[in-house]
Symmetry: C2
Subunit: 376 residues, 2 copies
Amino acid sequence: MTERIARYLQEERPESPCLVVDLEVIAENYRRLHEALPLAAIYYAVKANPAAPVLEVLRDLGSRFDAASIYEIEHCLRLGIGPERLSFGNTIKKSCDIATAYRHGIRMFAFDSGPELDKLAEAAPGSRVFCRFFMDGAGADWPLSRKFGCDLDMAADLLTRARDQGLQPHGVSFHVGSQQTDPGQWDLALGKTQMLFTTLKERGIELRMVDLGGGFPAHYLTDVPDELGYGSAIMAAVTKHFGNRIPELVIEPGRGIAGDAGVIQSEVVLISRKSYADSVRWVYLDIGKFGGLPETMGEAIKYRIVTPRDGGPTGPVILAGPTCDEVDVLYQQTRYELPLDLQIGDKVEFMATGAYTSTYSSVGFNGFPPLREHYI
Amino acid sequence: MTERIARYLQEERPESPCLVVDLEVIAENYRRLHEALPLAAIYYAVKANPAAPVLEVLRDLGSRFDAASIYEIEHCLRLGIGPERLSFGNTIKKSCDIATAYRHGIRMFAFDSGPELDKLAEAAPGSRVFCRFFMDGAGADWPLSRKFGCDLDMAADLLTRARDQGLQPHGVSFHVGSQQTDPGQWDLALGKTQMLFTTLKERGIELRMVDLGGGFPAHYLTDVPDELGYGSAIMAAVTKHFGNRIPELVIEPGRGIAGDAGVIQSEVVLISRKSYADSVRWVYLDIGKFGGLPETMGEAIKYRIVTPRDGGPTGPVILAGPTCDEVDVLYQQTRYELPLDLQIGDKVEFMATGAYTSTYSSVGFNGFPPLREHYI
């Protein structure tokens, strides 16, 4: 936790639960990624944390933005971010939303299928389009289904068709999986990318851009390589596959910029055992899966947890949220240990919760209000 | 789908996606449950669907209400529902929320642990309290962890302690699991309940109330017994265990009242394949796990799906939501078949989605607004 967040929590005593984001960390993470990959244009993944203060900091630093919906696009435009800095990166878009984005001046769109290409050709003629191909996401904490991307053969044909339909086949994208801890995954993906570039060149199409996706991790329970480690692994792979004809590079960090910048403070509502024989305590907090921590689904993301009584002896706990829903349990399989003298009313903090928390929270499940947010 | 909902969708053409709830079905479900279990007081589980029109219909029919949070309590009070008709049924409550509820006149509280009892004794002196004991939820579609309830020995001791702490040990509750399709589960639970009543009587405490919980199902893919089937199975078990000294009975239906009353209409955004060899189509809708269908987590609840092209030949599909999140897939393991001539832009309806949908939806994940709601 940064000193600024600690001071804010101590001095302001905001109502629990809440998220506090340090905007200086947002800026610092942006600069670090930029230094680690100076050749790459940064398109911040708005969905990670779309709060206006976050976007404004990044806007002023020169960032570009990857939007998942027309709503995110219009949010960015309202904040004075020009359409030339926006990419409509979702491969699943309604025709009417593509048309609206086009009318706003957006000229960069993702796709991964023929039917989506048809929509783009009709609703966003002449735009730059890039095709997402499929990676299996090995090594990522937050799993990849096959929801996005197509296979390489199809990608090659679709990019060819894009030209024939009056679009600009601009490049390709892939995503190695969010919270990716193995930089070697980019080598694999860039190898495939290079094959695509070659195939398309044989068909008379010069692709220009490689969107390396996101996947830059925040700091949760397990150690991860730092930005420079990622940067050099990625640049080594780019150079290996493209030599000195390096394409335009794009990255789409979300978690890697906003994750570490935030802390969620919650409060212990109840500590109990289910029977006299129970050795494990149930610790119930005032935040759970539906209040901003849905990435604990399947216990995928394991946050670091801080309590005011850390340092003394600990014992195993099951951590659960405050709703009447049985599935609102944060960690049951993952063995968390918390201080034995933890008390009801104690504040418990979740580290690195600046991304994929606030907008995920429910509008009012069990009547609980959405996660409160403070940007400092 | 009721005729009224069908007509509303056809005439009003509300923006997609949206939930339409037929309030006449709410009333009808309430009456049916009341007829099936005339001896039981109905405490509607507000969390299932807390929309004011739903609560108003039930208020006027004489329903009582089970609240999961102080927010739900204050919502009910604002709708003119008196505190004597409210139960604070969550076993996880902040002391300040108990105190506020008590100040509002609430005198019925659930608990399942010693620390919670201490809070109640201090913040809600003299109130009726009931102890939730643990059931394993076999036969329920929506699983039960051990999040709620304690074992029988502990329940007996806690109810004894409640008296010693100046509270009124009022009874017990259990929950056989939401969307419970095996009425025999109530027999098992009522057997345990009777043992608790006997134990407490030996300690000079006369328990009065049995809260049979919820678990009354809505109609999803699999067939379920009707209300009368449940009613007679439950009353047979009550009589078997309590003879003619039948305690006050309480039920807490949520899904059983609101589930069947609603339909979610969504729209097909994209239909695609991932490779030329793919035999399964990916069908992307404008609603997903984060827009109001989180009960598809682990594919637990399998909704019936209706399309305008039903009747012709079908083929296997994977159903996914519109967000850029890989986990936003509705059904991948469960084999759904949809018409082969399904088109982008077609409306697709999810049946029996009146409960556990609207308030579950995210405040704005990927920028998408919360689920629109229409009560007719």
